[in-house]
Symmetry: none
Subunit: 200 residues, 4 copies
Amino acid sequence: MAAKEEKIVAREEKYQQILDAAIEAFAVSGYYQCQVSKIARLAGVADGTIYLYFKSKQDILIKLFQERMGDFINDIRTQLNDSQSTRERLRAIIWTHFSYMEHNRSLAIVTQVELRQSDPDIRSAITGPLKEYFKLIEGVVTTGIECGEVAPLDVKAARQLIFGALDEAVSDWVMARTPRSLSNSAKPMLFLFEGALRLK
Amino acid sequence: MAAKEEKIVAREEKYQQILDAAIEAFAVSGYYQCQVSKIARLAGVADGTIYLYFKSKQDILIKLFQERMGDFINDIRTQLNDSQSTRERLRAIIWTHFSYMEHNRSLAIVTQVELRQSDPDIRSAITGPLKEYFKLIEGVVTTGIECGEVAPLDVKAARQLIFGALDEAVSDWVMARTPRSLSNSAKPMLFLFEGALRLK
Amino acid sequence: MAAKEEKIVAREEKYQQILDAAIEAFAVSGYYQCQVSKIARLAGVADGTIYLYFKSKQDILIKLFQERMGDFINDIRTQLNDSQSTRERLRAIIWTHFSYMEHNRSLAIVTQVELRQSDPDIRSAITGPLKEYFKLIEGVVTTGIECGEVAPLDVKAARQLIFGALDEAVSDWVMARTPRSLSNSAKPMLFLFEGALRLK
Amino acid sequence: MAAKEEKIVAREEKYQQILDAAIEAFAVSGYYQCQVSKIARLAGVADGTIYLYFKSKQDILIKLFQERMGDFINDIRTQLNDSQSTRERLRAIIWTHFSYMEHNRSLAIVTQVELRQSDPDIRSAITGPLKEYFKLIEGVVTTGIECGEVAPLDVKAARQLIFGALDEAVSDWVMARTPRSLSNSAKPMLFLFEGALRLK
DNA sequence: GATGAATGAGCGTTCATTCAT
DNA sequence: TATGAATGAACGCTCATTCAT
């Protein structure tokens, strides 16, 4: 029994190991340019081993988004639950978004580059976690309006502004040769958001 | 001489024809999924002909950004020159951005999907026109601060917010199955920008 | 116009060239063991060229049977039309079967080896021409019975006997290291068929 | 000692178990299309276990022919020994051939499909048992001629006719979606053989 | 200049076989 | 002996690019 449990643990470990390797590889070359054999080499396994854990190359990308974006969104959700005011919630979103990406630079790169895939199968797999994030942001704005902390305004536009700004900041940081810390951008970003939402 | 000129015009026409075909093709399948032969078919030329006008498939993508983004930025610049206040300038940016993309949906799709390529050659070619746009936006903010119309704030963050929000709105519109008009988003977006910049 | 016609001729030529190469290659290694690149090498074309003429490796095998078995059956049919008695018809079948296979040894090998494929797609493609051949043989027997030249007997069994015997003779000849002429077997085979059918 | 014997019995049992599984698996998918893991699953053992009993996948096919064709030929031989006349011997061959294949449909399928492999190693392994069967048939014919029961004729051709006809009948039966009983074909086949050999 | 048939490098995936447990 | 996870060679097929016409 203990042995079986160990095996499952070992399996999970190798699964994550391949996923990590895939993130690195995709970050460097992009999804289409990256060969499966490169992921395998990075993960320290044989090419064939990949297919014991994933259905296909595409499946790796999809699982990658589902798992890691899922983690990210859970982080955000946890932080939001601990926040009492709209200002605190905005700060939580900005801060978690930036620090998560900062600590997962390769994932951030993959996110920036592959988030907008034209391939329908990939897109629909990505859409799920992303929409959840959108809902969280829109929830913060809506709640803010209901509490009177936020001026009545177009919630969808506000969400586009918040996510777009954060995403663009990450994009800038990712593309920069010698990136300064992302976290430094948190304060000025919060200042802008407060203004945009007319936060009281 | 007239004959030669005609030839050059004909050449330019076919060049644009291929570029248009490429935009459509890339919009449908994405850069990597789209075969050169598909572009050729759409353009009504033979596969080989493409290579009389472009060095490579990658070159098509690069030229596409340089040419069409160039047009786009010129549009913006023209509109900005006719604007007297920061509010008008913001409105000009929003409106031109949205209406340009709305009238060039396929280009918008390509922009959203392929703008963030990991391939270094492509990236650096894209970066050029994009940076110019960034400078225009930052110029508007800086001027606004100097005139006292805009509160003193982090200009880079403001640019990230403005471009990111516009980009995200276009992204939403592009990905939507049955997109409502982008232009409708202009007003609420302006309202948010005004607040973010504490526009007087 | 003449140029276009030439092109079609050239295309047809290369098509047959690849088919011939495939027959040789399949005969040597068998369908599954034979790589597409081997066919290409034998045909003197690049691997990719194969796919300008055939949908897939499987398509080559299918087309091979349809074309060459089609030729074979047409040969048989022509010979049968020129025959006046059941004895002459039997002789025509035996002689044409043997001489065709003798002159197309590699095709004969492929026929022996791949005729009985388990793959359903391949099987159904093969079944067509083969069933036609069966019908021809059964027609000869039935006509013979109707004319009173052949004793009343189970037509299907007779066809199994005739085709089976011919096929087995070819099989023997194909597998033999130093095969004697197949045609030499024609006369004793005819003698056996005459007895089996109680030919008058 | 008893324990050791039991082990050997157990070993033999598992060996046959794998062989039976291989027959089923090969019959369904054909040799090349069938994965070793499928045989293992059918046999209820692990993939690796197969290699404790067989050198390779090819070895399974070879052993399969040697063992099961050996059984088959022993059956024939026994039946022939109990027969007194050529007619009885022919009947014994037909009946044993048909009933053996009818009771071992999967083996029959494998025989029909894989009997004629182009791979030299496989071929030479198959040739052994097959040649023995050929000799038995030729022995019956030769004896018949010597007894004056059979007309003087080409013994090899007669063997090709007899084996070819039986093989083709089995082939027809095997390929049929809803096969009628093979045994029903025995009588008409005997009638044809009697005529072919001018049996008195 | 224009064509499109031909090229062949490149890659995702499979599966027979091995070997540490 | 038995396992089954891991291996990696092998191969069918694609498609950007070339070049003879």
